[in-house]
Symmetry: C2
Subunit: 127 residues, 2 copies
DNA sequence: TCAAACCCTCACACTTATGTGATGGTCAAG
DNA sequence: CTTGACCATCACATAAGTGTGAGGGTTTGA
């Protein structure tokens, strides 16, 4: 598929798809005419990237963790330098912190909404 | 406490504390000489703001959800317009999505690290 | 064959969260 | 009274993610 279709299927502008490529997050191959060519797997990959960006991770970090997330879990030990592993552990912990913070605050928002709704119900039944 | 102490206690630069104020996330009162003055509660509040920023929420949204998170759960129904409630529900759902995405990817990173460690152990015991 | 709809690269612009520095006021300790 | 450590505002700068448009090729269908 070409960039336009990938753009539609991921809800991501062409501009951004090119940007992700520039940042090394995806590597498209090229047709004879120079057009980028993507296969099915790019759809999920792009959605994953967007989810991580949305969750506050910078492309620099996403680039580092993406290779760990490939489906046929093939570990290239040559890639896994100690520094790399340390980085990944740090990122894993940071992600855990983010999850905790988001969960705490989401629950508080949800609780607030529930309370408002309870108040509404009471206000409606006891005027 | 003045801005310098709040900065130290929250690990947040003075510049950013002023920025958060400019964005309406915190409201400091002023001493006679114009210095900002903060009480204890600002420490947690600032840490909460940083956690949410870190988790990818923009100040615009943080400003909207912060009032729901106050401890003495006092609901100002006058504040709770239908649009406001709709916004909060949307944000709650977005936060839930972020949490899911982060959890998925964090688990994948953790799994990868575990696999590498298992491989190391095996490589070490069967050379 | 011509137009519409793609694609390419390049470049400038904007927003958001930040850093840094200039310029100057306040205050406490020597 | 001066020095150093605070504080204030203001302005300029930067990186990251993203939009937009110019200038120019390719493909496809009427």
């Amino acid at each position: 598929m070409r960039i336009g279709e990938l753009s539609k299927r991921t809800g991501t502008s062409r501009r951004l798809l090119r940007y992700y490529e520039e940042q090394g997050l995806i590597v498209a191959d090229r047709c004879a005419n120079g057009y980028r060519s993507y296969d099915e797997r790019f759809v999920d990959r792009v959605l994953q990237i967007r989810g991580l960006l949305e969750a506050g991770l910078p492309t620099r970090i996403i680039k580092q963790i993406l290779p760990c997330l490939d489906k046929p879990r093939v570990i290239h030990f040559s890639d896994a330098t100690p520094e790399m592993l340390a980085t990944l552990e740090r990122e894993r912990d940071r992600m855990t912190e983010r999850i905790a913070c988001l969960t705490r605050n989401r629950d508080a928002v949800a609780e607030y909404l529930d309370a408002v709704r309870a108040g509404d119900r009471q206000a409606a039944t006891t005027p």
